[in-house]
Symmetry: C2
Subunit: 278 residues, 2 copies
């Protein structure tokens, strides 16, 4: 693991690292904010998964999470959204290929070789964080994310209730099997068999029995992708109601899909996770 | 004045505008954050001037000012750092020409025609803000900035004590006449007569009798430009001591010159200005 940059911020350290990933077969870059803490302290870890087109850098620069993490004593980890590199297949579109890994392990050629973001985010990177950050208390993890990363947070959290005590999302894709972004991506990454898609769809996971003590979701009502039918928070609402999951879905008038929206509610989410990770 | 973008953030509006500037003879872009407020309320205005290479966008995206401005009820205005465009002379370096206007009115060819950032920031843009933002209380203005923009904030504030009730800066160039960045820029923008430079040097202005009730400056001690001798906060300290100006100079261990530093202390500065602009 190579340190790419290190900046003191809000009393802690905002660092960026690069490492050779065995999951993706590429170098992967991620950022970690470690808040100020006493020597020997063990701190909870909040994962943040980014949306389409993003890298670790968007939230690291624009997410406004550090003040809240410093106050709550929470480590904040932001992975990339896909493999990248000259050997990684890609297409000239924003919603598939590079920057659009959908937090799944692709099974179809030519994507299956490198597009293994599920293994990377669910297994490899947590093991690396546990090994390299002695102050990280791996018994206390929460997960959140934005849009495609909200999909990632919900699905990874729901599949691993023993590991994630708290799950939230900003404007998540809650039912990728039922919306254009997800149908396009899943068909090509996973093939035509929709049964194989269900492990990557929050609403399907809930219908199939996955659960969580509670969920927090913020959704801007002026979000153009809400209007386009890519997000469909009502489907998560219905799935949670059927399953008896305590969902707090906050519809926020006037807010769009951007980091101006995310940064507005970031401190709320961090405090909410911190409370549950105490 | 044309609106380039508008995003709801922290309960208010983060907007970006473009207009044809008579000062620079170019289109100029700036951002304004208007916090949530009651209809008819009048709000103080805090100016933020950016550093070398920056536009309005750097602080708008990375400055972490909106939560504090929303809490304090302060409007935040971020201009660009130089004229830009196909007709604007430039050179392939980061510390002179485009992105490096130094908040002065150039007098030397070929810079004098467009590089008129003093007139733009000191006169034209305040008049535009007063005309277009009815909630802006022009009787209550503060000014801050970073690096070259800290130089801008100090010099504009010191030259206009009737207009700026509060002046602060992040890692400012406090004595451009005595450091490489300033000597290079002033020689070429203003010519060889160093007497003409004094209006653009905070320490010279103070020695020539300019004053302020107090000043707040944060300076990171791991700032590479501090080590390079471009910033020299001790010269401001000495000038303020000679003049009896109440300077709070906070030397911050471990912090560098980046927005990770700025964003860490931004809320402090906004609260400090808000207290003085009440």
């Amino acid at each position: 693991m190579e340190q790419v940059s290190s900046n003191k911020a809000h009393g802690g350290e905002q660092n960026v690292y690069r490492h050779a990933s065995t999951s993706t077969g590429t170098d992967m870059t991620f950022s970690v904010y470690v808040p100020p803490h006493e020597a020997g302290a063990k701190l909870p870890v909040l994962w943040y998964l980014s949306g389409l087109t993003c890298t670790h850098a968007n939230v690291t620069e624009k997410g406004e999470f550090r003040a809240a993490c410093a106050e709550a004593g929470v480590i904040f980890v932001a992975p990339d959204t896909s493999p990248r590199g000259p050997d990684v297949p890609d297409e000239d579109r924003y919603d598939f290929g590079t920057g659009a890994g959908f937090y799944l392990d692709a099974t179809e050629a030519p994507w299956a070789q490198h597009y293994r973001m599920r293994s990377y985010v669910e297994e490899e990177l947590p093991a690396l964080i546990a090994a390299e950050f002695p102050m990280a208390d791996i018994a206390r993890q929460g997960i959140t994310g934005h849009s495609m990363g909200g999909h990632g947070a919900l699905t990874i959290g729901l599949r691993n209730p023993d590991r994630f005590r708290s799950i939230s999302a900003f404007a998540p894709i809650v039912a990728p099997m039922q919306v254009p972004w997800g149908e396009t991506a899943f068909t090509r990454y996973l093939g035509e068999d929709r049964a194989a898609w269900r492990a990557y769809d929050a609403c399907a996971l809930i219908d199939d029995g996955a659960s969580a003590p509670e969920l927090l979701v913020d959704q801007g009502l002026s979000d153009n992708f809400l209007g386009d039918g890519q997000l469909r928070p009502e489907l998560l609402e219905q799935a949670c109601e059927r399953a008896g999951i305590d969902l707090t879905l906050r519809r926020q008038p006037g807010y769009d899909h951007s980091y101006y929206f995310i940064s507005t509610f970031m401190a709320d989410h961090i405090a909410w996770h911190a409370e549950r990770l105490k």
